[in-house]
Subunit: 324 residues, 3 copies
C-alpha cells in the first residue's frame, strides 16, 4: 500500500501524493498515478489551466491541514478535488484571458472555501451515510460567478449559455462531430474540451479500472442521446458538455455499487436522469447566465445512493470505495 | 379488508386496485372506489387526460414493481399517484394539442422517474417520520418543463402565467364566477377545470370521508379569499387555481391529525399559509414561465407535521393514516 | 437571575421582558436591558418603524403562547425576534409611506407565521443540534415580498437593488462615507440606517459584551472591504448594507464559540464568507427584485457550527449560549 511507504517521506512529497490522489477523486477513483496522468492532460490542453488546477488542489489541501481536518481524509485526497474543480472552472469562465495573474487570489480563496463547505456538509450528510461529493465545488463556483457578475471590473467572466437556446434555421447536426463529443464528454469532467487531453484522461480512468472507463463512455453517449432528444444547441453536443453529466452519473452507480446486471441497468438509468436533469438545470440557471456545472450528476448520484429496493442490495459501504 | 380478498386474484386485477388506491392518495385517502370515481371524472372532463393519467399510474406502479420496492408500499398505491399527477400536468401544459401520441413516451419516462425520487426521498425523510407526499411530482414536472422549454420542436408547452400579473384597467371581479371557483379548486387538485367532473371528484372525497370533503371546500374557499386579498389575476380565481393549494393544505391537517377544535383552527391556518405561499411561489416561478404546482401545499403540510406544541398532541402515526 | 424575580409579576410585565429579551436574540445576546436600548434606538430612528417592531415582537410571542410552544423558549425570547425583523423589513420595503395603517394586518400575520416556521425548523434541525436562528425571518420576508409584488394595489413595495449594479462613469468612492458605513452596518442588523441610533445599538451590544461589539465592528469592516473588492454599488457601502452580513457572521462565531486565537481567525473567515455570499445572493435575488436579507450570514453561521476540526474543539453547547 502506497500510504505506508509515504509516511517517512518529507511533507512536500506527501502533499504531492495527497494532491494527485485528490485529482482522481472526481472520477470516483483514488490512484496517484491516474492523477498524474490527468494533471498532465490538463497541462497539455492549457498550461494556464494546469497551473490553476494545481494551485487549487494545493490551496484546499493546505487549508484542510491548517484547519485540523481529519488526517485520513486529507491524505486520501478528499479535500483537494473540490478546490481543483473550482479553480479550473474559474479559469474557463474568466473573460480576462490566460495568464491574468490577479485571478490567482480568488482561486486560492475559493479553493479554501471548499474545505469549509466539505467539512460542514460531511457533518450534515453523515446521518444518511452519504458522501459530500462535488457539492462544495458546485456551490462555490455558482457563488463566485454570482459575486463577480459578467461586467465586474476586476474579475469579469463569460455568462453561460443555456443548452436549450434555439438554433438558427437550416442548420443540421453533423453526426461525426456528435460522435467526437462522446470522448470529449469525459474530458469535460475536468473542463477540458480538446480531443488529445480528453483521451489521456480516459486513459487515466482505464488505468484505474477499465469497467469505470466503459461506464464513463457509455454515460457520455447516453448524455449525448438525451441532448439530441431534447434538441439542445449544437455547441453543447459538439463540445461534450451534453455528455459529461451523463458520464458522471453513470460512473457514480458503477463506482459505488458492486457490478451486476441490475447495477448496469441502474447505471444507464442514472446516466439518463443526470443528462435530462442537466438540460433542465442548465436552462433554469442559464436565465441568469449561470452554468449548471455538475449539479445534475451530483444530485442524481446522491438519489441513487438513497434508493431502497433492488439497487440497495448491491451497495458498498462508503469506506470500502477506496482503492490502493 | 379488500387487500386480503385480492391476494388470490390475477396480477392485472391487483394492479388495477393498486392503481385506483393510488389515485386517492393525492387527496390523502386510500379507497379503490373513490379512485374509480375520480378516474371516471377525469375521463369525463377529457378522455385524453384520462388516458394520460391511467398510463402514468400504470407506468410508475410497474416501475416500482420492477425496481423491487417494498410490496406493502406498492399495494398501498404509494408509488402511483406521483406518476399520475405528472402525466396529467404534462397533458395540461402541452401545447401540441390532444392525442399527440409522441407525448406518451415522456409521460412513461417521467412517471418512472417519480419512483426513483419517491424511494430516495423516503430514505431521506424517514429521519423525521415525514411522508414523501407529492414532492416527486412537483420536482419531476418542473424538471420536465425546464427541459423542454416553450419552443421545443418535439414537446412544446405553454408557459405558466404568474397569479400576480396585473389586470387590465376597469375589470371587476364577478362574484358568481369566484364562487364557482371554490368547487373547481377541488377539481384542480387533479388538473381538472370543468364543473361537472370537479363535483364528481368532490363526491369521491365525500364517499371516503365527509369531513375531508368539508376541509377540501373550506380550504378552497380560504385560498380564494387569500387570492382576493392579494388581487391575483381573475383567471386564477375563476379557474380554481387560487383555491387548490388551500384545499390541499387544509385537507392535510384534517387528514393527518385527529379531529378537534384545535386541529380545525390549525387546518384553517394551514390553508391560509398554503394559499399565500402558492401566490408567492407562483410569482417567483412565473418569472421563468414555470407553474408553482402544489409546492406550497406540500411544504406547508410538511411544516405542519414538524410543528411542536399543541398541534403535535393530536398527530397520528403515519402508518395509521391508512383506510380500508 | 431575572427570570426568578419575574415569575410572580403580572403577565403583561412578563411579556415585556420576553419581548425585550427577544430583541437582543438577533445579536446573539439575551439581555432585557440591551433590548430596551435597541428598541429605543428604533423609535429614535423612526417612530413608525419602532411601532412595527414592537407589534411584530408582541404578535409572534403571543402566537407562540397560544400555540402552546415550549414555555422556556417563549420566556427566553426565542419566538419574538423573527417576528420583529419581518415587521421592520416590511416597513422598510413598503412604498406606501409611514403610518399606512393597513400594513399592520400583514405585519401581524407574517409575525405569526414566523412561529410556525420556528417550531417546524426546530424539529428539523435538532438532529444536528443546530439553532433555527433567523431562517424563519428570511423565509417569511421573501414570501411576503413575492406575494405582494412591486405593483400590488394594497401593499406595494420597492424592489430591491442588487449590490452588483454598475456605477455611472466617473464616480469615485468617498473614503469617509465608507468609514461611516462600518458602524451603520451594525445598525442595519435592525434595518436602521441613521448614525445616532446605530451607535446606540452598538452601545447596547457593548453593554451585553464588549467582545461581541468588537466582533460586530470588525465584521462590518470586513464586509465593507469585501464590498470594495467586488466593486459593489456605492449606495450599499455608504448605507452599511455591505457590512451587516459580515457583522452577523463575525458575531456568530464570536458568540457560539469560546474565545481563543483560533476562534478569532475563524470569525474573520466567517465574516468574509458571509460578506461575499451576501453579494452573490444579493445579485441572484436582485434579478427578481428581492433582497438577500441575512440569508448569507445565517447560512454561513450554520456552516460554521457544522464544521469539524479545530473550530469544533471550541464549541459551546447551544443551551449554554444564554446569558442573564
Amino acid at each position: 500500500h502506497v500510504d505506508e511507504q509515504m509516511k517517512e517521506k518529507p511533507f512536500v512529497l506527501q502533499l504531492a501524493v495527497w494532491g494527485l490522489r485528490g485529482v482522481t477523486r472526481v472520477i470516483l477513483a483514488n490512484n496517484p498515478l491516474s492523477g498524474a496522468l490527468i494533471l498532465a492532460a490538463l497541462y497539455w490542453a492549457s498550461p494556464w489551466q494546469g497551473l490553476l488546477g494545481t494551485l487549487g488542489i494545493l490551496a484546499s489541501t493546505l487549508t484542510a491541514v491548517i484547519m485540523g481536518q481529519d488526517s485520513a481524509e486529507v491524505s486520501g485526497g478528499l479535500h483537494g478535488f473540490n478546490g481543483m474543480l473550482v479553480s479550473l472552472l474559474m479559469g474557463v469562465f474568466s473573460s480576462a484571458g490566460d495568464w491574468y495573474w490577479w485571478l490567482l487570489l480568488p482561486v486560492c480563496l475559493c479553493s479554501a472555501t471548499c474545505v469549509f463547505l466539505y467539512s460542514g456538509l460531511t457533518s450534515l450528510l453523515v446521518h444518511w451515510d452519504l458522501p459530500v461529493a462535488v457539492f462544495p465545488f458546485n456551490t462555490v463556483i455558482i457563488l463566485y460567478l454570482l459575486c463577480t457578475g459578467p461586467n465586474n471590473p476586476y474579475f469579469p467572466h463569460h455568462p453561460a449559455v443555456p443548452p436549450g437556446v434555439l438554433q438558427p434555421n437550416g442548420t443540421n447536426v453533423i453526426a461525426v462531430e456528435v460522435l467526437y463529443g462522446i470522448p470529449l464528454g469525459v474530458g469535460q469532467i475536468f473542463a477540458c474540451d480538446a480531443m488529445g487531453p480528453s483521451l489521456l484522461i480516459l486513459g487515466a480512468v482505464v488505468l484505474y479500472s477499465p469497467l469505470l472507463a466503459a461506464h464513463a463512455l457509455l454515460g457520455s453517449a447516453v448524455g449525448t442521446l438525451a441532448g439530441l432528444s431534447m434538441a439542445v444547441s449544437h455547441a453543447s453536443l459538439y463540445s461534450g458538455l451534453s455528455g459529461f453529466n451523463g458520464a458522471l452519473g453513470c460512473m457514480a452507480v458503477g463506482g459505488f455499487f458492486t457490478f451486476s446486471w441490475t447495477t448496469h441497468l441502474f447505471s444507464i438509468a442514472s446516466a439518463f436522469l443526470s443528462a435530462y436533469a442537466d438540460i433542465a438545470l442548465g436552462n433554469l440557471l442559464g436565465t441568469v447566465g449561470l452554468p449548471a456545472c455538475s449539479w445534475a450528476a451530483t444530485l442524481t448520484a446522491t438519489l441513487m445512493l438513497l434508493l431502497t429496493g433492488s439497487l440497495a442490495a448491491y451497495s458498498m459501504p462508503i469506506e470500502k470505495v477506496k482503492a490502493p
